[in-house]
Protein backbone atom coordinates (compact mmCIF):
# COMPACT_ATOMS: atom_id res chain seq x y z
CA UNK A 1 0.00 0.00 0.00
CA UNK A 2 1.14 3.50 -0.73
CA UNK A 3 2.38 5.64 2.14
CA UNK A 4 2.10 9.38 2.19
CA UNK A 5 3.28 11.97 4.69
CA UNK A 6 1.76 15.37 4.01
CA UNK A 7 3.29 18.59 5.35
CA UNK A 8 4.49 16.93 8.51
CA UNK A 9 6.14 19.08 11.19
CA UNK A 10 7.44 17.99 14.57
CA UNK A 11 9.20 19.93 17.28
CA UNK A 12 10.81 18.65 20.46
CA UNK A 13 10.94 21.69 22.70
CA UNK A 14 12.88 24.29 20.74
CA UNK A 15 14.38 21.71 18.37
CA UNK A 16 12.63 21.35 15.02
CA UNK A 17 12.94 17.70 14.04
CA UNK A 18 10.74 17.95 10.94
CA UNK A 19 9.82 21.10 9.07
CA UNK A 20 6.92 20.74 6.63
CA UNK A 21 8.02 17.44 5.15
CA UNK A 22 6.06 15.62 2.44
CA UNK A 23 6.96 12.16 1.15
CA UNK A 24 5.12 9.73 -1.10
CA UNK A 25 6.07 6.08 -1.34
CA UNK A 26 4.37 4.08 -4.08
CA UNK A 27 2.67 0.74 -3.49
CA UNK A 28 5.25 -2.02 -3.21
CA UNK A 29 8.21 0.37 -3.37
CA UNK A 30 11.42 0.12 -1.37
CA UNK A 31 12.49 3.53 -0.20
CA UNK A 32 15.38 4.80 1.90
CA UNK A 33 15.30 7.83 4.15
CA UNK A 34 18.92 8.94 4.05
CA UNK A 35 20.51 11.63 6.13
CA UNK A 36 22.99 12.45 8.87
CA UNK A 37 21.96 11.98 12.51
CA UNK A 38 19.56 14.66 13.64
CA UNK A 39 18.18 15.10 10.13
CA UNK A 40 14.72 13.95 11.21
CA UNK A 41 14.64 10.69 9.27
CA UNK A 42 13.91 8.47 12.28
CA UNK A 43 11.30 10.90 13.58
CA UNK A 44 9.53 10.77 10.22
CA UNK A 45 9.57 6.97 10.30
CA UNK A 46 8.20 6.91 13.85
CA UNK A 47 5.46 9.36 12.89
CA UNK A 48 4.46 7.11 9.98
CA UNK A 49 4.36 4.16 12.41
CA UNK A 50 2.31 6.10 14.95
CA UNK A 51 4.98 5.96 17.64
CA UNK A 52 5.14 9.76 17.61
CA UNK A 53 2.40 12.14 16.67
CA UNK A 54 3.09 15.04 14.32
CA UNK A 55 2.51 18.62 15.48
CA UNK A 56 1.14 19.38 12.04
CA UNK A 57 0.43 17.40 8.93
CA UNK A 58 -1.11 14.11 7.99
CA UNK A 59 -0.11 10.49 7.46
CA UNK A 60 -1.97 8.51 4.81
CA UNK A 61 -1.58 4.76 4.34
CA UNK A 62 -3.40 3.09 1.47
CA UNK A 63 -5.44 6.20 0.79
CA UNK A 64 -6.75 6.46 4.35
CA UNK A 65 -5.68 9.07 6.85
CA UNK A 66 -4.20 7.33 9.89
CA UNK A 67 -2.97 10.47 11.65
CA UNK A 68 -5.22 9.79 14.64
CA UNK A 69 -4.98 6.00 14.49
CA UNK A 70 -2.89 4.45 17.30
CA UNK A 71 0.21 2.50 16.30
CA UNK A 72 -1.40 -0.83 17.07
CA UNK A 73 -4.21 -0.33 14.56
CA UNK A 74 -2.12 1.04 11.69
CA UNK A 75 -1.04 -2.31 10.30
CA UNK A 76 2.63 -1.36 10.14
CA UNK A 77 5.52 -3.68 10.76
CA UNK A 78 8.30 -1.83 12.57
CA UNK A 79 11.85 -3.06 13.06
CA UNK A 80 13.74 -1.17 15.73
CA UNK A 81 17.35 -0.14 15.52
CA UNK A 82 18.31 -2.38 18.42
CA UNK A 83 15.66 -4.96 17.44
CA UNK A 84 13.67 -4.54 20.69
CA UNK A 85 13.50 -8.29 21.33
CA UNK A 86 11.11 -9.59 23.98
CA UNK A 87 13.91 -10.98 26.11
CA UNK A 88 11.79 -13.24 28.26
CA UNK A 89 10.30 -15.05 25.28
CA UNK A 90 11.72 -17.65 22.93
CA UNK A 91 12.30 -16.82 19.28
CA UNK A 92 9.11 -18.73 18.51
CA UNK A 93 7.06 -16.68 20.97
CA UNK A 94 8.60 -13.43 19.80
CA UNK A 95 7.50 -14.16 16.25
CA UNK A 96 4.10 -15.44 17.40
CA UNK A 97 3.42 -12.39 19.57
CA UNK A 98 1.43 -10.34 17.05
CA UNK A 99 -0.78 -13.30 16.19
CA UNK A 100 -1.23 -14.36 19.78
CA UNK A 101 -2.43 -10.91 20.92
CA UNK A 102 -4.93 -11.14 18.07
CA UNK A 103 -6.07 -14.49 19.52
CA UNK A 104 -5.60 -16.44 16.31
CA UNK A 105 -6.09 -20.22 16.38
CA UNK A 106 -3.07 -22.13 17.59
CA UNK A 107 -2.67 -24.16 14.41
CA UNK A 108 -2.57 -21.00 12.32
CA UNK A 109 0.04 -19.42 14.61
CA UNK A 110 2.23 -22.52 14.46
CA UNK A 111 2.06 -22.68 10.68
CA UNK A 112 2.79 -18.98 10.25
CA UNK A 113 5.70 -18.99 12.69
CA UNK A 114 7.25 -21.98 10.98
CA UNK A 115 6.88 -20.34 7.60
CA UNK A 116 8.44 -17.08 8.77
CA UNK A 117 11.34 -18.70 10.59
CA UNK A 118 12.06 -20.48 7.31
CA UNK A 119 11.86 -17.22 5.42
CA UNK A 120 14.39 -15.53 7.72
CA UNK A 121 16.48 -18.70 8.00
CA UNK A 122 16.12 -19.21 11.74
CA UNK A 123 14.52 -22.67 11.42
CA UNK A 124 16.46 -24.51 14.10
CA UNK A 125 16.47 -21.67 16.63
CA UNK A 126 12.79 -21.44 17.59
CA UNK A 127 13.36 -22.44 21.22
CA UNK A 128 16.34 -20.15 21.80
CA UNK A 129 16.12 -16.94 23.79
CA UNK A 130 17.16 -13.60 22.30
CA UNK A 131 20.25 -13.53 24.54
CA UNK A 132 21.47 -16.65 22.73
CA UNK A 133 21.33 -15.07 19.26
CA UNK A 134 23.89 -13.04 17.32
CA UNK A 135 23.13 -9.52 16.10
CA UNK A 136 22.28 -10.69 12.61
CA UNK A 137 19.98 -13.41 13.94
CA UNK A 138 18.24 -10.93 16.25
CA UNK A 139 17.73 -8.66 13.29
CA UNK A 140 16.10 -11.42 11.28
CA UNK A 141 13.97 -12.45 14.23
CA UNK A 142 12.75 -8.86 14.57
CA UNK A 143 11.90 -8.84 10.88
CA UNK A 144 10.00 -12.14 11.11
CA UNK A 145 8.11 -10.80 14.13
CA UNK A 146 7.11 -7.68 12.20
CA UNK A 147 6.08 -9.68 9.13
CA UNK A 148 4.03 -12.23 11.10
CA UNK A 149 0.99 -9.97 11.27
CA UNK A 150 1.09 -9.34 7.51
CA UNK A 151 1.64 -5.60 7.79
CA UNK A 152 0.48 -3.27 5.05
CA UNK A 153 3.82 -1.51 5.20
CA UNK A 154 7.22 -2.36 6.65
CA UNK A 155 9.30 0.27 8.41
CA UNK A 156 12.91 -0.32 9.42
CA UNK A 157 14.92 2.05 11.62
CA UNK A 158 18.64 1.79 10.84
CA UNK A 159 18.20 -1.93 10.24
CA UNK A 160 21.87 -2.72 9.77
CA UNK A 161 23.36 -0.03 11.96
CA UNK A 162 24.51 -2.26 14.80
CA UNK A 163 25.99 -5.09 12.73
CA UNK A 164 29.53 -5.72 11.60
CA UNK A 165 30.48 -5.02 8.01
CA UNK A 166 30.23 -8.54 6.64
CA UNK A 167 26.87 -9.45 8.18
CA UNK A 168 25.65 -6.06 7.07
CA UNK A 169 26.50 -6.71 3.45
CA UNK A 170 24.78 -10.10 3.52
CA UNK A 171 21.67 -8.76 5.18
CA UNK A 172 21.37 -5.88 2.72
CA UNK A 173 21.36 -8.21 -0.20
CA UNK A 174 18.97 -10.50 1.60
CA UNK A 175 16.54 -7.66 2.40
CA UNK A 176 16.60 -6.67 -1.27
CA UNK A 177 15.68 -10.20 -2.31
CA UNK A 178 13.08 -10.54 0.43
CA UNK A 179 11.41 -7.40 -0.82
CA UNK A 180 11.28 -8.83 -4.35
CA UNK A 181 9.57 -11.88 -2.85
CA UNK A 182 6.96 -10.31 -0.60
CA UNK A 183 6.41 -6.90 -2.22
CA UNK A 184 5.36 -5.07 0.90
CA UNK A 185 5.83 -1.31 0.74
CA UNK A 186 9.02 -0.70 2.71
CA UNK A 187 10.76 2.35 4.11
CA UNK A 188 14.09 2.09 5.84
CA UNK A 189 16.15 4.71 7.57
CA UNK A 190 19.90 4.86 7.17
CA UNK A 191 22.81 7.27 7.45
CA UNK A 192 24.92 5.17 5.10
CA UNK A 193 24.68 6.39 1.49
CA UNK A 194 26.18 3.20 0.12
CA UNK A 195 23.54 1.15 1.92
CA UNK A 196 20.74 3.37 0.64
CA UNK A 197 22.04 3.18 -2.94
CA UNK A 198 22.51 -0.56 -2.83
CA UNK A 199 19.14 -1.48 -1.36
CA UNK A 200 16.61 1.21 -2.24
CA UNK A 201 14.79 1.97 -5.45
CA UNK A 202 14.05 5.50 -4.30
CA UNK A 203 16.01 7.62 -1.87
CA UNK A 204 14.83 10.62 0.10
CA UNK A 205 17.79 12.68 1.25
CA UNK A 206 17.06 14.56 4.47
CA UNK A 207 18.96 17.24 6.29
CA UNK A 208 18.05 19.39 9.29
CA UNK A 209 14.38 18.42 9.28
CA UNK A 210 13.86 19.02 5.57
CA UNK A 211 14.00 17.02 2.37
CA UNK A 212 16.92 17.96 0.14
CA UNK A 213 16.10 15.72 -2.80
CA UNK A 214 14.13 12.64 -3.79
CA UNK A 215 15.15 10.34 -6.59
CA UNK A 216 16.63 7.06 -7.73
CA UNK A 217 20.19 6.35 -6.62
CA UNK A 218 21.38 7.20 -10.10
CA UNK A 219 19.52 10.51 -10.28
CA UNK A 220 20.93 11.57 -6.94
CA UNK A 221 24.45 10.72 -7.95
CA UNK A 222 24.33 12.17 -11.45
CA UNK A 223 22.22 15.22 -10.88
CA UNK A 224 22.34 16.22 -7.24
CA UNK A 225 20.03 19.13 -6.50
CA UNK A 226 22.45 20.93 -4.23
CA UNK A 227 25.78 20.90 -2.47
CA UNK A 228 24.47 18.88 0.44
CA UNK A 229 23.25 16.01 -1.73
CA UNK A 230 26.38 16.15 -3.85
CA UNK A 231 28.67 15.85 -0.88
CA UNK A 232 26.49 13.37 1.05
CA UNK A 233 26.16 10.96 -1.88
CA UNK A 234 29.72 9.92 -2.60
CA UNK A 235 33.10 11.59 -2.17
CA UNK A 236 33.63 15.09 -3.51
CA UNK A 237 36.32 17.70 -4.17
CA UNK A 238 35.43 21.24 -3.33
CA UNK A 239 37.12 23.90 -5.42
CA UNK A 240 35.83 27.26 -4.27
CA UNK A 241 32.12 27.15 -4.96
CA UNK A 242 32.49 24.29 -7.38
CA UNK A 243 32.26 20.55 -6.75
CA UNK A 244 33.96 17.73 -8.57
CA UNK A 245 33.85 13.96 -8.09
CA UNK A 246 37.31 12.41 -7.58
CA UNK A 247 36.75 9.95 -10.41
CA UNK A 248 36.17 12.88 -12.80
CA UNK A 249 39.69 14.12 -12.17
CA UNK A 250 41.82 12.72 -14.99
CA UNK A 251 45.49 12.00 -14.55
CA UNK A 252 47.22 12.15 -17.91
CA UNK A 253 50.36 10.51 -19.20
CA UNK A 254 51.24 13.50 -21.40
CA UNK A 255 50.32 17.15 -21.27
CA UNK A 256 47.70 17.82 -23.94
CA UNK A 257 47.79 21.59 -23.55
CA UNK A 258 44.55 21.91 -21.57
CA UNK A 259 45.94 20.25 -18.46
CA UNK A 260 47.27 21.78 -15.27
CA UNK A 261 50.15 20.36 -13.32
CA UNK A 262 49.74 18.73 -9.97
CA UNK A 263 51.98 17.06 -7.44
CA UNK A 264 51.14 13.75 -5.83
CA UNK A 265 51.03 14.01 -2.05
CA UNK A 266 49.92 10.50 -1.28
CA UNK A 267 48.81 7.36 -3.09
CA UNK A 268 46.25 5.22 -1.20
CA UNK A 269 45.58 1.71 -2.46
CA UNK A 270 42.00 0.65 -1.73
CA UNK A 271 41.94 -2.58 -3.70
CA UNK A 272 40.60 -2.07 -7.19
CA UNK A 273 40.55 1.69 -6.72
CA UNK A 274 43.49 3.90 -6.00
CA UNK A 275 42.96 7.27 -4.38
CA UNK A 276 45.53 9.85 -5.34
CA UNK A 277 45.84 12.96 -3.22
CA UNK A 278 47.09 15.88 -5.28
CA UNK A 279 48.23 19.42 -4.69
CA UNK A 280 47.46 21.95 -7.43
CA UNK A 281 49.85 24.80 -8.36
CA UNK A 282 47.71 27.28 -6.39
CA UNK A 283 48.18 25.14 -3.27
CA UNK A 284 44.72 23.59 -3.14
CA UNK A 285 44.38 19.89 -2.41
CA UNK A 286 42.09 17.63 -4.39
CA UNK A 287 41.78 13.89 -4.64
CA UNK A 288 41.49 11.79 -7.75
CA UNK A 289 40.27 8.25 -8.13
CA UNK A 290 41.88 5.97 -10.66
CA UNK A 291 41.90 2.24 -11.28
CA UNK A 292 44.69 0.02 -10.10
CA UNK A 293 45.72 -0.54 -13.72
CA UNK A 294 46.04 3.19 -14.43
CA UNK A 295 48.05 3.75 -11.27
CA UNK A 296 50.37 0.94 -12.28
CA UNK A 297 50.71 2.14 -15.86
CA UNK A 298 51.58 5.71 -14.86
CA UNK A 299 53.81 4.46 -12.03
CA UNK A 300 52.18 6.91 -9.65
CA UNK A 301 54.23 7.73 -6.59
CA UNK A 302 54.60 10.43 -3.98
CA UNK A 303 56.27 13.65 -5.08
CA UNK A 304 55.62 12.97 -8.77
CA UNK A 305 54.53 15.98 -10.83
CA UNK A 306 52.16 15.26 -13.69
CA UNK A 307 49.44 16.81 -15.83
CA UNK A 308 45.82 16.51 -14.69
CA UNK A 309 42.61 17.54 -16.39
CA UNK A 310 39.76 18.93 -14.31
CA UNK A 311 36.47 18.72 -16.22
CA UNK A 312 33.85 21.42 -15.76
CA UNK A 313 32.99 21.24 -12.07
CA UNK A 314 29.44 21.53 -10.87
CA UNK A 315 28.36 24.86 -9.39
CA UNK A 316 25.15 25.16 -7.40
CA UNK A 317 23.16 28.35 -7.26
CA UNK A 318 23.38 29.88 -3.83
Amino acid sequence: MAIEARNVSKRFGSFTALDDVSVTVGDGALMALLGPSGSGKSTLLRIIAGLESPDEGEVVIGGESVTDTPARSRGVGFVFQHYAPFKHMTVHNNVAFGLSVRRRPKAEIEARVRELLGLVRLDGLAERYPSQLSGGQLQRMALARALAVQPKVLLLDEPFGALDAQVRGELREWLRRLHDEIHVTTIFVTHDQEEAMEVAEQIVVMNAGRIEQTGTPRELYESPANEFVMSFIGPVNRIGDAYLRPHDVEILAHDDGAATEAMIKRVVHLGFEVRVELTLPDGRDISAQVTRATAHELELHEGQILPVRLPQPRVFAA
Binding site: L51, A71, R72, A84, K87, H88, G98, V101, Q132, V149
Partner: protein, 299 residues
Protein backbone atom coordinates in the same frame (compact mmCIF):
# COMPACT_ATOMS: atom_id res chain seq x y z
CA UNK B 1 39.75 -3.55 56.76
CA UNK B 2 43.50 -2.76 56.89
CA UNK B 3 44.34 -6.26 55.74
CA UNK B 4 42.45 -5.74 52.53
CA UNK B 5 44.07 -2.36 51.95
CA UNK B 6 47.63 -3.69 52.27
CA UNK B 7 46.62 -6.69 50.22
CA UNK B 8 45.93 -4.45 47.26
CA UNK B 9 49.68 -4.52 46.62
CA UNK B 10 48.97 -7.84 44.99
CA UNK B 11 47.54 -5.93 42.11
CA UNK B 12 50.90 -4.71 40.83
CA UNK B 13 52.36 -8.02 39.59
CA UNK B 14 49.64 -9.65 37.53
CA UNK B 15 49.84 -13.35 38.31
CA UNK B 16 47.41 -14.44 35.58
CA UNK B 17 49.44 -12.84 32.81
CA UNK B 18 52.67 -14.72 33.55
CA UNK B 19 53.82 -17.40 31.15
CA UNK B 20 55.68 -19.38 33.81
CA UNK B 21 54.57 -18.55 37.34
CA UNK B 22 57.83 -18.13 39.20
CA UNK B 23 58.32 -17.46 42.87
CA UNK B 24 57.07 -13.88 42.43
CA UNK B 25 53.92 -15.14 40.78
CA UNK B 26 53.30 -17.60 43.58
CA UNK B 27 53.78 -14.95 46.16
CA UNK B 28 51.37 -12.65 44.35
CA UNK B 29 48.89 -15.52 44.13
CA UNK B 30 49.16 -16.08 47.84
CA UNK B 31 48.72 -12.37 48.57
CA UNK B 32 45.66 -12.28 46.37
CA UNK B 33 44.19 -15.29 48.11
CA UNK B 34 45.01 -13.83 51.51
CA UNK B 35 43.25 -10.64 50.59
CA UNK B 36 40.22 -12.52 49.33
CA UNK B 37 39.92 -14.53 52.54
CA UNK B 38 40.67 -11.45 54.62
CA UNK B 39 37.75 -9.58 53.12
CA UNK B 40 35.49 -12.58 53.59
CA UNK B 41 36.47 -13.01 57.22
CA UNK B 42 35.80 -9.37 58.00
CA UNK B 43 32.45 -9.40 56.21
CA UNK B 44 31.31 -12.64 57.84
CA UNK B 45 32.59 -11.58 61.23
CA UNK B 46 30.65 -8.36 61.07
CA UNK B 47 27.54 -10.23 60.04
CA UNK B 48 28.03 -12.84 62.76
CA UNK B 49 28.47 -10.27 65.49
CA UNK B 50 25.53 -8.12 64.49
CA UNK B 51 23.06 -10.63 63.18
CA UNK B 52 23.87 -14.30 63.38
CA UNK B 53 24.95 -14.51 67.03
CA UNK B 54 21.94 -12.67 68.49
CA UNK B 55 19.49 -14.58 66.32
CA UNK B 56 21.19 -17.86 67.17
CA UNK B 57 20.91 -16.95 70.85
CA UNK B 58 17.16 -16.57 70.49
CA UNK B 59 16.92 -19.98 68.89
CA UNK B 60 19.07 -21.46 71.63
CA UNK B 61 17.10 -19.90 74.48
CA UNK B 62 13.83 -20.92 72.88
CA UNK B 63 14.70 -24.57 72.63
CA UNK B 64 16.95 -24.91 75.68
CA UNK B 65 14.22 -26.67 77.73
CA UNK B 66 13.08 -28.90 74.91
CA UNK B 67 10.14 -28.76 72.61
CA UNK B 68 7.23 -29.05 75.08
CA UNK B 69 7.27 -25.45 76.38
CA UNK B 70 7.66 -24.25 72.79
CA UNK B 71 4.59 -26.14 71.63
CA UNK B 72 2.68 -24.95 74.66
CA UNK B 73 3.60 -21.37 73.88
CA UNK B 74 2.65 -21.75 70.24
CA UNK B 75 -0.68 -23.32 71.12
CA UNK B 76 -1.68 -20.53 73.41
CA UNK B 77 -4.83 -18.75 72.01
CA UNK B 78 -3.39 -15.22 72.21
CA UNK B 79 -0.22 -16.31 70.45
CA UNK B 80 -2.29 -18.03 67.77
CA UNK B 81 -4.38 -14.92 67.36
CA UNK B 82 -1.32 -12.69 67.05
CA UNK B 83 0.16 -15.02 64.45
CA UNK B 84 -2.96 -15.04 62.25
CA UNK B 85 -3.52 -11.33 62.70
CA UNK B 86 0.01 -10.62 61.49
CA UNK B 87 -0.53 -12.80 58.45
CA UNK B 88 -3.88 -11.15 57.78
CA UNK B 89 -2.35 -7.67 57.84
CA UNK B 90 0.46 -8.79 55.56
CA UNK B 91 -2.02 -10.48 53.21
CA UNK B 92 -3.91 -7.22 52.78
CA UNK B 93 -1.19 -4.59 52.87
CA UNK B 94 1.39 -6.34 50.66
CA UNK B 95 -0.88 -6.81 47.59
CA UNK B 96 -2.15 -3.25 48.02
CA UNK B 97 1.38 -1.89 48.11
CA UNK B 98 2.43 -4.07 45.19
CA UNK B 99 -0.29 -2.71 42.93
CA UNK B 100 0.30 0.82 44.16
CA UNK B 101 4.08 0.47 43.82
CA UNK B 102 3.97 -0.82 40.25
CA UNK B 103 1.50 1.90 39.30
CA UNK B 104 3.67 4.57 40.91
CA UNK B 105 6.81 3.24 39.24
CA UNK B 106 5.10 3.38 35.83
CA UNK B 107 3.82 6.86 36.52
CA UNK B 108 7.19 8.18 37.70
CA UNK B 109 9.25 6.45 35.03
CA UNK B 110 6.99 6.62 31.98
CA UNK B 111 4.72 9.55 32.70
CA UNK B 112 5.31 13.15 31.72
CA UNK B 113 3.64 15.60 34.05
CA UNK B 114 4.28 18.53 36.32
CA UNK B 115 5.19 17.81 39.92
CA UNK B 116 6.82 14.48 39.11
CA UNK B 117 9.87 15.26 41.23
CA UNK B 118 7.63 16.18 44.14
CA UNK B 119 5.70 12.93 43.83
CA UNK B 120 8.96 10.99 43.81
CA UNK B 121 9.92 12.73 47.02
CA UNK B 122 6.54 12.03 48.65
CA UNK B 123 6.86 8.32 47.97
CA UNK B 124 10.06 8.20 50.00
CA UNK B 125 8.52 10.05 52.91
CA UNK B 126 7.51 6.89 54.83
CA UNK B 127 11.20 5.92 54.91
CA UNK B 128 12.22 9.27 56.28
CA UNK B 129 9.56 9.64 58.94
CA UNK B 130 9.75 7.52 62.09
CA UNK B 131 6.98 4.89 62.28
CA UNK B 132 5.95 6.31 65.64
CA UNK B 133 5.20 9.63 64.00
CA UNK B 134 3.19 7.87 61.31
CA UNK B 135 1.19 6.07 64.00
CA UNK B 136 0.47 9.32 65.84
CA UNK B 137 -0.50 11.04 62.61
CA UNK B 138 -2.97 8.27 61.86
CA UNK B 139 -4.53 8.57 65.30
CA UNK B 140 -4.86 12.33 64.78
CA UNK B 141 -6.50 11.85 61.39
CA UNK B 142 -8.74 8.87 62.00
CA UNK B 143 -9.14 8.72 65.79
CA UNK B 144 -12.31 9.69 67.73
CA UNK B 145 -11.23 13.30 68.16
CA UNK B 146 -9.51 13.31 64.80
CA UNK B 147 -10.14 15.06 61.60
CA UNK B 148 -12.24 12.28 60.05
CA UNK B 149 -13.31 10.89 63.42
CA UNK B 150 -16.87 12.23 63.46
CA UNK B 151 -17.65 11.08 59.97
CA UNK B 152 -16.20 7.64 60.60
CA UNK B 153 -18.10 7.27 63.90
CA UNK B 154 -21.38 8.28 62.26
CA UNK B 155 -20.92 5.60 59.65
CA UNK B 156 -19.92 3.00 62.20
CA UNK B 157 -16.39 2.54 60.90
CA UNK B 158 -13.66 2.04 63.44
CA UNK B 159 -10.17 2.59 62.09
CA UNK B 160 -8.06 3.29 65.14
CA UNK B 161 -7.69 0.46 67.67
CA UNK B 162 -8.82 -2.02 65.05
CA UNK B 163 -7.55 -3.94 62.03
CA UNK B 164 -8.21 -1.29 59.33
CA UNK B 165 -5.94 1.19 61.12
CA UNK B 166 -3.24 -1.44 61.54
CA UNK B 167 -3.41 -2.32 57.86
CA UNK B 168 -3.14 1.36 56.94
CA UNK B 169 -0.18 1.88 59.27
CA UNK B 170 1.59 -1.20 57.91
CA UNK B 171 0.89 -0.19 54.32
CA UNK B 172 2.32 3.28 54.90
CA UNK B 173 5.58 2.20 56.51
CA UNK B 174 6.24 -0.34 53.74
CA UNK B 175 4.96 1.88 50.94
CA UNK B 176 8.15 2.82 49.03
CA UNK B 177 9.73 -0.63 48.56
CA UNK B 178 8.00 -1.89 45.43
CA UNK B 179 8.14 1.44 43.61
CA UNK B 180 11.79 2.02 44.55
CA UNK B 181 12.86 -1.47 43.48
CA UNK B 182 10.83 -1.32 40.27
CA UNK B 183 11.80 2.12 38.95
CA UNK B 184 15.44 1.31 38.07
CA UNK B 185 14.44 -1.96 36.42
CA UNK B 186 11.78 -0.15 34.44
CA UNK B 187 14.33 2.42 33.31
CA UNK B 188 16.74 -0.33 32.31
CA UNK B 189 13.98 -2.09 30.39
CA UNK B 190 13.37 0.94 28.18
CA UNK B 191 10.38 1.53 25.97
CA UNK B 192 11.48 -0.18 22.75
CA UNK B 193 9.93 -3.54 23.54
CA UNK B 194 6.68 -1.90 24.63
CA UNK B 195 6.55 0.11 21.43
CA UNK B 196 7.32 -2.99 19.40
CA UNK B 197 4.40 -4.73 21.11
CA UNK B 198 2.10 -1.86 20.24
CA UNK B 199 3.09 -1.90 16.56
CA UNK B 200 2.34 -5.64 16.62
CA UNK B 201 -1.23 -4.88 17.67
CA UNK B 202 -1.07 -5.33 21.46
CA UNK B 203 -3.36 -3.14 23.55
CA UNK B 204 -1.97 -1.18 26.48
CA UNK B 205 -3.21 -3.85 28.85
CA UNK B 206 -1.74 -6.72 26.82
CA UNK B 207 1.56 -4.86 26.57
CA UNK B 208 1.63 -4.43 30.33
CA UNK B 209 0.90 -8.08 31.16
CA UNK B 210 3.00 -9.68 28.45
CA UNK B 211 5.94 -7.31 28.04
CA UNK B 212 6.31 -4.78 30.85
CA UNK B 213 5.46 -6.95 33.85
CA UNK B 214 7.67 -9.91 32.83
CA UNK B 215 10.42 -7.38 32.15
CA UNK B 216 10.27 -5.84 35.61
CA UNK B 217 9.35 -8.94 37.63
CA UNK B 218 12.80 -8.95 39.24
CA UNK B 219 12.32 -5.59 40.78
CA UNK B 220 8.74 -6.35 41.74
CA UNK B 221 9.59 -9.66 43.43
CA UNK B 222 12.40 -8.07 45.38
CA UNK B 223 10.17 -5.16 46.34
CA UNK B 224 7.44 -7.56 47.49
CA UNK B 225 9.90 -9.49 49.64
CA UNK B 226 11.15 -6.32 51.30
CA UNK B 227 7.58 -5.11 51.77
CA UNK B 228 6.57 -8.42 53.34
CA UNK B 229 9.55 -8.46 55.67
CA UNK B 230 8.91 -4.88 56.71
CA UNK B 231 5.18 -5.45 57.14
CA UNK B 232 5.71 -8.58 59.26
CA UNK B 233 8.13 -6.85 61.56
CA UNK B 234 6.35 -3.49 61.84
CA UNK B 235 6.20 -2.38 65.43
CA UNK B 236 6.17 1.38 66.01
CA UNK B 237 3.25 2.63 63.96
CA UNK B 238 1.11 -0.44 64.59
CA UNK B 239 1.86 -0.26 68.29
CA UNK B 240 0.30 3.21 68.53
CA UNK B 241 -2.60 2.64 66.16
CA UNK B 242 -3.63 -0.76 67.52
CA UNK B 243 -3.98 0.05 71.21
CA UNK B 244 -2.28 -3.32 71.84
CA UNK B 245 -5.35 -5.22 72.98
CA UNK B 246 -4.26 -8.79 73.69
CA UNK B 247 -6.14 -11.33 71.60
CA UNK B 248 -7.65 -8.56 69.51
CA UNK B 249 -5.24 -6.05 68.05
CA UNK B 250 -1.97 -7.66 69.00
CA UNK B 251 0.32 -8.63 66.12
CA UNK B 252 3.27 -10.97 66.52
CA UNK B 253 5.87 -8.24 67.17
CA UNK B 254 3.53 -6.61 69.71
CA UNK B 255 2.99 -10.01 71.31
CA UNK B 256 6.74 -10.52 71.64
CA UNK B 257 7.13 -7.15 73.30
CA UNK B 258 4.21 -7.72 75.68
CA UNK B 259 5.41 -11.17 76.74
CA UNK B 260 8.95 -9.94 77.22
CA UNK B 261 7.78 -7.14 79.48
CA UNK B 262 5.66 -9.58 81.52
CA UNK B 263 8.59 -11.93 82.06
CA UNK B 264 7.01 -14.69 79.93
CA UNK B 265 10.39 -15.36 78.35
CA UNK B 266 9.44 -18.61 76.65
CA UNK B 267 6.40 -17.02 75.04
CA UNK B 268 8.44 -14.05 73.85
CA UNK B 269 11.28 -16.18 72.46
CA UNK B 270 8.97 -18.62 70.78
CA UNK B 271 7.02 -15.87 69.02
CA UNK B 272 10.32 -14.23 68.04
CA UNK B 273 11.51 -17.48 66.52
CA UNK B 274 8.26 -17.83 64.57
CA UNK B 275 8.69 -14.27 63.32
CA UNK B 276 12.27 -14.96 62.27
CA UNK B 277 11.23 -18.16 60.51
CA UNK B 278 8.49 -16.32 58.60
CA UNK B 279 11.01 -13.76 57.39
CA UNK B 280 13.41 -16.54 56.49
CA UNK B 281 10.70 -18.35 54.55
CA UNK B 282 10.00 -15.18 52.57
CA UNK B 283 13.65 -14.91 51.60
CA UNK B 284 13.86 -18.57 50.61
CA UNK B 285 10.69 -18.23 48.57
CA UNK B 286 12.14 -15.25 46.73
CA UNK B 287 15.33 -17.17 46.04
CA UNK B 288 13.40 -20.10 44.60
CA UNK B 289 11.20 -17.82 42.52
CA UNK B 290 14.05 -15.82 41.08
CA UNK B 291 16.09 -18.93 40.39
CA UNK B 292 13.26 -20.41 38.37
CA UNK B 293 12.62 -17.23 36.39
CA UNK B 294 16.31 -16.81 35.79
CA UNK B 295 16.48 -20.30 34.37
CA UNK B 296 13.75 -19.58 31.86
CA UNK B 297 15.39 -16.43 30.56
CA UNK B 298 18.72 -18.30 30.37
CA UNK B 299 21.89 -16.36 29.79
Amino acid sequence: MSSSASGSLALSPAPAGRAAPGRDGQRADRALRARKYGVRTVALGYLALLLLAPVAMIFYRTFEHGLTPVFDAIGEPNAQHAFWLSLEIVAISVPLNTIFGIGMALLLERGRFKGKALLGLLIDLPFAISPVVIGLALVLAYGKTGWLGDWLAENGIQVIFSVPGMVIATAIVSLPFVARETIPVLRELGTDAEQAASTLGASGWQTFWRITLPGIRWGVVYGVVLTTARALGEFGAVSIVSGRIEGETQTLPLFVQARFENFDVTGAYTAAVVLALLAFATLVLMNLLTRRTRADTAA
